[in-house]
Amino acid sequence: MINDLILRVVTKWLSPIIILFALYVQFHGDYSPGGGFQAGVIFSTAILLYALTYGLDAALKVIPETALRVAASFGVLLYGGVGVVSMLLGGNFLNYSVLADTPLAGQHIGIIVIELGVGITVAAVMILLFFTFSRRVDPE
């Protein structure tokens, strides 16, 4: 598909929009439908589209596999980290109310950060799954 002009141009134009939409779903998730999981999947489709059009090697240049592995772990750590921080601040695990001065602000910060963690992990794992299945050679 690398020589198809229409696909190449459309992909080039569409990918940033998909990523932007993913970020919208991610960070507007506490007011409207959405959240980390959906945003992560939408984000990964942008990379998938790019990989389908320009080939796997080009996609790996955009996001190397090592970065994806680190991101997948980092998301979980971010999620758990919020819980640990709230424990250190004197609340129960994942009690966001203690994260800021008022419980309302604390809940807000907490949900945004853990959803970000979910989003990062889901996006990274989705892309990793695609790379793993499309490669068909031994990893690294």
Binding site: A72, V76, V84, N92, F93, L94, N95, Y96
Partner: protein, 501 residues
């Protein structure tokens, strides 16, 4: 005691597993896993001693009050299961130090240990949570990581074994989830204690019974209760040694724990007595004991033999539950602990044999006992516990089981237990005969690189783990205070809230 310690049991593996996944070095990943399992062991000990007198520790996740929020309500049963899981995790970690480099692809060390920690996390989570949906989530965490762990076995058969376990395990989890969904539709709550207290208000609904049957079937698949055990022998037979040790000793036990919770704390006992469930469980348990022992006796490969014997041992636990009296429940709960210990020891023995000879076929191990006297001594010791020879842990549980059955006048159970024990003698004898009595022939050692000195003697860490297990089999057979007191306190707690049968 500080309540925050309870959640640390789940948080520590949750935080360390993703870090472990990033490392490729075996030493670092192993040290991180050792830290996780040791911390969990210490924490579970602290918690168990805190609740053994029948009190509760309650932890509200995120500061949300139950029944809206997720609540961890820990009584002696929860703490006891957490202790079993983390103790076996410690043993497996010791065993892993020298066994994993030999069995796992060197690119996957970090991922392997991360999956092991996640599996531990899931099992500990199941043991702690008091929320039925949260329990399902932890069930899935532990199952998904165990599929991955089993598929890392050396032979290609591990892949098909893992796949069939994946299919059946997913069906089991789905059934459980459907059941939970029906129950939620009827009760509007996911908190186990909350559902139990308001049970009479929706007990007549058909949904509740349908949900119950779905939950029961799902858990039966997960726990490998007799007619739903077909995934177990392949999965445990082909998994890497460390995974066989860890899963055989914990995964089915934790599912049985969930079954006990559902039967005694979620649904009232009178409700499922009316469904004739005790009788059904009793029959399944008895048939499972005899069938499992018989199939174990037929096997020609050590790990599969042990796996089938697990099916039989699960039968004993189910019999104990179905007796519905104090001795029966005590025997079941103690057998969760005792069987975990015995089976872990036996699988460690099989792991050492595999490590040195690259085979666990009994015919290829003929007369090998003289070459590895200490390893086989430990295997025989654990085998005796499996039979239930006095002085070993197996005897203690069978004694209580028999006295529970006799108290109820259920002589069929007595016959089944004795027949199971005779068959156990037969299949343990099969190992002993192959090891000690068959004429020694030239040993077949496969796939060994030139200059490989591993074969010379059993590596220290493997023997250490094996002998800790074997010593445990003896020690807890002679000094039964810790498991007995916990089991007694659990049985009283489970039966107290219900009408006597």
């Amino acid at each position: 005691m500080n309540e925050q310690l309870t959640i640390l049991l789940v948080v520590v593996p949750l935080m360390i597993a993703p870090i472990t996944a990033l490392f490729k070095s075996h030493t670092i990943s192993w040290i991180l896993t050792a830290i996780v399992s040791l911390t969990s062991l210490i924490l579970s000990f602290i918690i168990l001693f805190d609740v053994i007198d029948g009190s509760h520790v309650i932890y509200e996740l995120g500061g949300w009050r139950p029944p809206w929020g997720i609540e961890y309500k820990i009584d002696s049963l929860n703490a006891f299961i957490a202790l079993i899981v983390s103790a076996i995790a410690c043993l497996s970690t010791i065993f892993a130090w020298q066994s994993v480099p030999k069995e796992i692809n060197e690119n996957n060390y970090g991922l392997f240990y991360a999956a092991l920690q996640l599996c531990l996390l899931g099992l500990l989570g199941i043991a702690l949570t008091g929320d039925i949906f949260n329990l399902f989530v932890f069930l899935e965490i532990s199952s998904l990581s165990s599929y991955a762990l089993i598929s890392m076995g050396r032979s290609r058969k591990a892949l098909t074994a893992a796949f069939s376990y994946l299919i059946l395990g997913t069906i089991g989890a789905t059934f459980f989830l459907i059941g939970v969904g029906f129950l939620y539709a009827a009760s509007g709550s996911l908190n186990i204690a909350d559902i139990a207290t308001r049970f009479s208000t929706f007990a007549d609904m058909q949904l509740v019974m349908t949900g119950f049957i779905f939950i029961l079937l799902g858990l039966g698949l997960k726990a490998a209760i007799f007619p739903m055990h077909s995934w177990l022998p392949n999965a445990y037979g082909h998994a890497p040694s460390v995974v066989s040790i860890f899963l055989s000793a914990t995964a089915t036990k934790v599912s049985i724990y969930v079954l006990i919770r559902v039967l005694f704390d979620l649904y009232p006992v009178a409700y499922w007595q009316a469904l004739l469930l005790p009788q059904i469980l009793l029959v399944l348990g008895c048939v499972g004991v005899i069938y499992g022992s018989f199939r174990a006796w037929q096997q020609v490969e050590l790990k599969r033999l042990l796996a089938f014997s697990s099916v039989a041992q699960i039968g004993y636990i189910i019999i104990g539950i179905s007796l519905l009296n104090n001795d029966g429940i005590t025997a079941s709960v103690m057998h969760l602990f005792n069987h975990a210990l015995i089976k872990a020891t036996l699988f460690m023995g099989a792991g050492i044999i595999l490590y040195r000879t690259n085979t666990t076929k009994l015919s290829e191990l003929r007369g090998f006992g003289g070459s590895m006297p200490w390893t086989f001594a430990a295997i025989v010791l654990a085998g005796l516990s499996l039979i239930g020879v006095p002085g070993t842990v197996g005897f203690v549980t069978k004694w209580y089981l028999l006295s529970g059955a006799i108290a109820q006048g259920k002589w069929i159970v007595v016959v089944a237990i004795l027949a199971g024990s005779v068959l156990a003698i037969a299949y343990v004898w099969k190992i002993v005969e192959a090891m000690y009595f068959n004429s020694k022939r030239k040993m077949v050692i496969q796939n060994v690189k030139i200059g490989d000195i591993n074969l010379a003697k059993a590596p220290f860490s493997l023997s250490l783990a094996l002998w800790i297990g074997a010593a445990g089999c003896l020690y807890f057979g002679l000094y039964t205070e810790l498991p007995y007191q916990s089991a007694q306190s659990i049985a009283t707690a489970l039966l107290s809230s219900e009408v006597a049968p």
